[in-house]
Subunit: 132 residues, 2 copies
Amino acid sequence: MDSVNYLSQFGLSRTAIRTKLLEILYIAEEALSSKEIESKLDDDVDRVTLYRTIKLFEEKKIIHKIVIDDQVTKYKLINSQKGKEHPHFHCTECDKVLCLPDTPLPSCKLPDGFSIQAQSTIVEGTCQNCNN
Amino acid sequence: MDSVNYLSQFGLSRTAIRTKLLEILYIAEEALSSKEIESKLDDDVDRVTLYRTIKLFEEKKIIHKIVIDDQVTKYKLINSQKGKEHPHFHCTECDKVLCLPDTPLPSCKLPDGFSIQAQSTIVEGTCQNCNN
DNA sequence: TTAATAATGCAACAATGTTGCAATAATAAA
DNA sequence: TTTATTATTGCAACATTGTTGCATTATTAA
């Protein structure tokens, strides 16, 4: 992954944190929480800067925010391969979050006059690892 | 609504806050946040007690928690009429949350060895009121 | 009515995220 | 390459949402 090109593609300048965050999310197979990201960063990275970078990446549609529960929010690189909206699976045992790209979201029957912008589905359960 | 019977049905004793919370949620047509509930309660109700009551109602399956976003969680009385799981609609303009009981949740294609416990869908959009 | 038990209020704390502002780093121009 | 401009970062302080321990008060059952 060429993080310099990736960043400039979104009109962002190359800084240490941005490069590192891209790398961390690129390597990770599952969605990561800000705390999980923080633990993978060097110790001297400010919490505020990380939050600001995450917010920036969200705005630029580089990452996707997945709200698991009131207290757990995770982030995933938006992958152009499986770009369309899909549900996410949350393992209640190990807390990992994975994409379910093969499951289409339901087409919702909205009341008259309502309009839809987006929808998100979280599937709670246990993964193969935790079932064994 | 007979709150005394309703509470004893779930093995709960009748206290002022529990009665009032049931009443507030019963009257409300949409899901309410803890802050919205707080503003409908008397001023002298402790925030901690409300949180504890909400948690208790959740555990007893009297109410259903709907996580809209990292910072917004709403609660709704579980209505036995439309008891099965259904998506919820969140109006991004007025912030109201409504049930979409006529839309079934998708049946997810899970990888081998995975098992499902629950799923939740949040539909983001604008309601009829806000579209006019 | 009273004793046992359960619920509440208060203070303090914890986690997660935000804001203002000064210091620093990145970029573009000379 | 050096400098000036602009963008980014770090720090301190704050905001919101929720939790814990413990003493006080209310509820329930005898």
